[in-house]
Symmetry: C2
Subunit: 349 residues, 2 copies
C-alpha cells in the first residue's frame, strides 16, 4: 500500500510507492531501439494484441472500426500502480510537521494502438483522435470519484523520458491532491484574473498571435502551437485551444479531429527536426472539483528530453536552455513546410 506524504518545507506531496520498485526495466539506462528497428508485434510485449491476458483487466476499449472484435485503443490499470482507489483521503498528522494519507488514487495505462512500433509521430490522424477520445473518456469517468481532485495525463516517450516499455502508451494518474505544479500556475492565473478580470491564457494566446508570431508554429481554427517565450528546454512546445476552457474533461470532443491533426503534426515535426527525440507530453488541466472556472485554461505541453536535468535545475528550479524559442520555432516551421503534402495538414504551409 502506497502513501502520500507532504514535505513541510516546500508543501510538496510525494508518493511513496514500494510496488513501483518492482517494475520491469525501471532503472535501465539503455538507449531504446528506434521505432524502425522494432517489429510491429512483439510476442513478449504485454501491450501487444494476443497478450491481453498478461495485463490487468481492461477498463475501456475503442474497437477497431474495421474489425470490431479487435481493439484500437485499450485502457488498463497500471500493474505497478503508484496509487489505488482503496481507503480514504483523510489526512493523518504525525506530530506537528508530518502529514500523510493513504495512497488513494487511480493509475491507468492507455495503450495507444495495437502497433508495437508506431509512435504518435507516425500514427494515422484517426488513431491519434481515438487516443484523445480515450483520454477524455477516462478523465470524465474518473472525475466522478469525489475523493479525486486532479487528473494528470501524460506520455513518456523513450528511455531518457522515463518509459519502461517500448510499446507506445500513455498514462493517467488521478490524485486526491492538486499537483504542486498546477497549484502554482493556478495561483498566478488567479492573481491575473483578480487584477484584469480575464483569463491569463486567453490574453496570452491573443498576444502571441498579435506580437509573438515568431514563436507561433501553427494556428488553426481552434488551436495555436507555440514555443513559449521562456521555454525551459529546447523545442518545448505548448498547444492551446483558443476557446476558454479550464478542464480537458469539458472540452468539446467535436474539436478532437482538429486537435488530433495538430498534435500528430507537432509530434511528426519534432520527430523530423530532432531525429526521433525522447520527450514527455503532459495535459495540464484544472482540478476536477472546479472544472468551469474562469481562471485556468487547459493545454498540452511537450517537453523534449535532449539534455539531462542536472544539479542546478534540481537545486534552484531554474532551467538553463541553449536555444532561443524564436530559433527553434523557425526550425519547426521549416520542417513543417518541407514535409509531404499529406503530412502536416493542420499547419499552414
Amino acid at each position: 500500500m502506497s502513501e502520500l506524504r507532504q514535505d513541510i518545507t516546500t508543501k510538496e506531496w510525494v508518493i511513496v510507492a514500494p510496488e513501483r520498485g518492482k517494475r520491469p526495466q525501471g532503472r535501465s539506462k539503455a538507449k531504446a531501439a528506434a521505432a524502425d528497428e522494432l517489429p510491429d508485434r512483439d510476442a513478449e510485449c504485454p501491450f501487444c494484441p494476443g497478450n491481453e491476458s498478461k495485463t490487468p483487466t481492461e477498463v475501456f476499449r475503442i474497437p477497431n472500426p474495421d474489425k470490431p472484435s479487435d481493439w484500437s485503443v485499450r485502457v488498463i490499470p497500471n500493474r505497478f500502480a503508484a496509487l489505488v482507489p482503496e481507503g480514504d483521503t483523510t489526512r493523518k498528522e504525525e506530530g506537528p510537521f508530518f502529514r500523510k494519507m493513504i495512497g488513494y488514487g487511480i493509475h491507468e495505462v492507455i495503450i495507444d494502438s495495437p502497433s508495437h512500433n508506431t509512435p504518435l509521430a507516425l500514427m494515422p490522424y484517426e488513431q491519434v483522435e481515438r487516443v484523445l477520445t480515450a483520454y477524455q473518456e477516462r478523465y470524465n469517468v474518473i472525475k466522478k470519484d469525489r475523493e479525486i481532485n486532479h487528473i494528470t495525463i501524460f506520455k513518456n516517450v523513450g528511455w531518457t523520458a522515463g518509459t519502461s516499455l517500448a510499446h507506445p502508451h500513455s498514462q493517467l494518474v488521478a490524485t486526491p491532491i492538486m499537483t504542486i505544479y498546477y497549484h502554482r500556475k493556478f495561483d498566478v492565473a488567479l492573481d491575473y484574473y483578480a487584477d484584469m478580470g480575464r483569463c491569463l491564457y486567453c490574453d496570452l494566446i491573443k498576444y502571441n498571435l498579435e506580437k509573438g508570431r515568431n514563436r507561433v508554429i501553427a494556428e488553426t481554427a481552434e488551436f495555436i502551437v507555440v514555443h513559449p517565450y521562456a521555454s525551459r528546454v529546447p523545442y518545448e512546445t505548448w498547444i492551446f485551444p483558443k476557446m476558454h476552457c479550464a478542464s480537458f474533461g469539458l472540452f468539446p470532443d467535436t474539436y478532437f479531429t482538429e486537435l488530433a491533426q495538430v498534435l500528430k503534426d507537432v509530434a511528426f515535426c519534432l520527430y523530423q527536426a530532432l531525429d526521433n527525440p525522447d520527450y514527455n507530453l503532459v495535459i495540464d488541466s484544472t482540478t476536477t472539483h472546479d472544472e468551469d472556472d474562469p481562471y485556468y485554461h487547459w493545454h498540452i505541453r511537450i517537453i523534449p528530453r535532449l539534455s539531462t536535468i542536472a544539479g542546478f535545475e534540481m537545486g534552484s528550479g531554474i532551467y538553463i536552455t541553449p536555444a532561443r524559442p524564436e530559433d527553434t520555432a523557425e526550425h519547426m516551421k521549416q520542417v513543417a513546410g518541407s514535409c509531404p503534402d499529406d503530412m502536416c495538414i493542420a499547419f499552414s504551409k
Copy 2:
C-alpha cells in the same frame, strides 16, 4: 550573450544561454567509467594539474600544504558560462506578458582536487574541508556584488546527474534573481515564523531528533544527517547545521572540520550502499541580500539519481519514490556501522 526570461504562467525565470550548446559531451548519454577505471591524471583533462593553461584564468586557489607551489583546490570561471557579470539587471518588459533581463551573473567551477579519479566519497577529510573553504570563500567574495541576489553551489556527479567532465568538480551559479525553489521554501518558512515566531528548520531538527530517530542517520555535535519524511527520491539526504544560520556565507568556518567529516561520510556511505551512484548535491542558502534573517536555515541536499525524472514528475511536480526513508536510513546506518574504523569517524557506530 545570455538572457533571463520569465514565464508569465509560473513566474519561473529561465536562462537562455546559447553558449552552453557548445559544451563538450553535453548531450552524451554514455555511462561514466567508474572511478577505479580512471587514471589519477589524464593528459586530456583541462582540470588536471599541468593543464592549467587550458582553463580560463583562475580566480582562487588553495595551495597544497605540503608543496605550496602546487594547488589543492582551484576555482575558475566556467568556460561555457550560463551567466557573465556584464551589463546590468534592469528588467525589460516586452509587452504586457514578457519580462527579461541581460544574463548577468557569475558561473564558476570549483576543481575539487588535483586527482582525476578521487570522488568526494573517497577524498581525505582534509581535502573535503578545503573544498568547503573554497565554496565559502567564493560565496563571500561574490555576494559583495549587489546585483547578485542568490548563490547556488552544487555538484553533478556522474553522467545521469548532468556532468560533462569526469574530473571531480563543483559549480557555483550566482543569479540576479532568487531561485524559484528558494522562493517557495522561503514563503513556507516565513509563514511558519509568522505563526510560531521560530525558525521552521530549527524546530524540524529538534523534532527529528526527538521523534524522527528512525530517519536520522547521524548526529554530531553541530550537525544532523536525515532522510527526510517526504524524500522525493530514494536515499535523498539532508545535512543540517544545528545552529540557526540562514546563509552558508555566515556559517562559522570553525565548524568546517566537522562538516567535512559528516559530508565525506555521507558520500562514502552512499557510495557503499548504492555502488557509486550518480547524484546531485546542492547547498540551499538564503539570498545574499538578507543573510541573517530569522526564517531560513542553510543546509545541504544530496539527491541520488537512481531513476529517470519522467512525465508525471515533469508535469505535476509530484515525485513517486519506491523507497521509504525509514528503510533507506536504516540501510545507511548499517553501512556506516560496518565500515572500517578510520572511515565514518563522524558517525556514532
